[in-house]
Amino acid sequence: MIRFLLKGLLRDRSRSFFPILIVSAGVALTVILYSYFNGVEIDAIRNYAVFATGHVKAMSRAYAEQAELIPNDLALLGVDSLMQDLETNYPQVRWTGRIRFGGLLDIPDENNETRIQGPVTGLAVDLFSVDTPEIDFLGLHRSLVQGKLPQSPGEVLIAEEYAGQLGLSAGSRVTLVSATMNGSLALENFLIAGTVRFGMAAMDRSAMIADIGDIRLALDMEDAAGEILGFFSDEIYKDEDAMAIAAEFNQAAPTDDEFAPVMYALSEQSDLRGMLQQTDSVIGMINGVFIAVMAMVLWNAGLMGTIRRYGEIGVRLAMGENKGSVYRSLILEALMIGFVGSLLGTAIGLGFAYLLQSKGIDAAGMMKSSNVMMSNVLRARITAGSFFVGFLPGLLAILLGTGLSGLSVYKRQTSQLFKELEV
């Protein structure tokens, strides 16, 4: 019987072509949008982790409370031994200390007088250890625009865009004006080794990347770090694991010492969790709308198809097929169409998603003033989910559509189906 239905479907184009077209169009769109949101989400998580939150991050309790003010006077002390503890207790995580700092860049003219000044947001990371993971984490090689990466103390990187504004280039000398851990004035000269572009407005606006050793010296932060970031060694964020590590660590931490370290998972920091939930519900909504629209179109197509097939249905009833079996065969046909349509739509969708993954959409304009850690070029990301998301809506839509339109088989008297075939 299935063979019989299949033959009918293959030979009667109008029975299969239009529904397949609708299903595959809907499924393709679902796959594309899913992959796109996926890409944005993965990109956002990665950026947040790399530039701000790590997969987990330890700070002093007091620092954590006002983290956005970068209160370096509340930074962690005794960082060397703390890092050693972390490495022994959580070997699946790579730990790295960082200092964020703010201040002014003072750029001298040829007479060593101030030519121009600008605010700067700094990130001090381990640039010079032999096994430092930071160069990779931050993608410094990839982001380098001119010059080279810092090779020796006193050399820094500066955002290309910002360098342009201040008239700086590789080889320029700048003075960082900031505050030490104790609140006194800090002045330190740096040589710009190169400029970088991260492709992310929040970082490209006024950022400086320096070695943590240099900044410890400049800001009087011996054996101190504002934050210690931890990254899973496979570089993939796993929320449950991160939460578990943070919880375990915090359990052991004294609760009465505001300088004692506390740990947070990525999702506990920033507004990322809300954003992730939002994308999930947007995807859900889009799916719902697609299912409803597709089902409605397919319902209509199904109605016309059934009317066109009253003759066939009448004959089949006359030959002793019962209504239930005719109805089931319509549903079965729908399932086959839905499956083929979903398959086709998924293939088409993956094709476009792949294009979006390799080319991306340039959203630089949208990101100009954004503080969100989102790349300027938004790329789709094909994951295992991309292969499956389309099937449920595809099959559901055609099942709904056919299920509703096929009810007319039940509503009609058998002999009435006949009258319609006698004309």
């Binding site: 019989f4 009667d12 030959m319 002793g320 019962n322 006949f418």
Partner: protein, 237 residues
């Protein structure tokens, strides 16, 4: 010839409602058909022939009265039971052939056997045999739109008789055929009637068909006005 009762109707009434009006299509029809009959229901258009055949064929149910077909009371059957009855024991032939357009001649004839769940090898044997009866073995791969009217109706005959049903209902089977094709079809049906003891019940107002019948029931305005056995018909019993 077996003369056990095949179909009995008692005071069969069928009313249709047309808006406010009620149309009485069958008015107390009482008839008896024995198995193996080759019988026609004739009468002017609108006299109730199709309605009568549809009820006896379990495609429709009567408003009142009874129709007992192969010992089953049509009015009391569920949809499923009626479908079962048609599936196992009835064949239908229509004025407009009603072949399934997307399927080949072979597949059209095969369909009732699929419903009955015959295995493929047996189906093939039975379909070829049925096509042999209607002399269409050379067209088994053709599609309905590649057939003439006469050939199409022969396929419909093959489809109706392939499962060797007890009764074949044929509603104006020759109305769309020319004289020669009509005769051809009737010859085939007549020989099947003889060889397989299949009961044939026609509705018709075609003189050519009437010549072949061994019994003619006349309906007028939903009533039986005449019921006679024709001694000197085209068949000898």
């Amino acid at each position: 010839m077996a003369d056990d009762n095949c179909i009995q109707t008692r005071d069969l009434v069928k009313d249709y409602s047309l808006g406010q009006q009620r149309v009485r299509a069958l008015n107390h029809v009482t008839l008896n058909f024995v198995c193996g009959e080759f019988c026609g229901v004739v009468g002017p258009s609108g006299s109730g022939k199709t309605t009568l055949l549809n009820i006896m064929g379990s495609l429709d149910s009567p408003t009142s009265g009874r129709a007992i077909v192969l010992d089953r009371d049509i009015a009391s059957l569920t949809h499923k039971e009626a479908a079962q009855l048609r599936n196992h024991h009835f064949g239908f032939i229509f004025q407009t052939f009603n072949l399934l357009p997307v399927y080949s001649v072979f597949e059209n004839v095969e369909f009732p056997l699929l419903l009955l769940g015959y295995p493929a090898s047996e189906r093939k044997k039975m379909v070829l045999e049925a096509l042999e009866w209607v002399k269409l073995t050379d067209k088994e791969k053709a599609r309905p739109n590649q057939l003439s009217g006469g050939e199409s109706q022969r396929v419909a005959v093959a489809r109706a008789i392939v499962k060797k049903p007890k009764i074949v209902f044929a509603d104006e089977p020759t109305a769309n055929l020319d004289a020669q094709n009509s005769r051809h079809i009737l010859n085939i049906m007549q020989s099947l009637n003889r060889q397989l003891q299949t009961t044939f019940i026609f509705s018709t107002h075609d003189e050519k068909v009437i010549q072949f019948l061994r019994r003619v029931v006349t309906l007028e305005d939903g009533r039986v006005t005449d019921d006679r056995v024709i001694e000197n018909s085209g068949s000898e019993s």
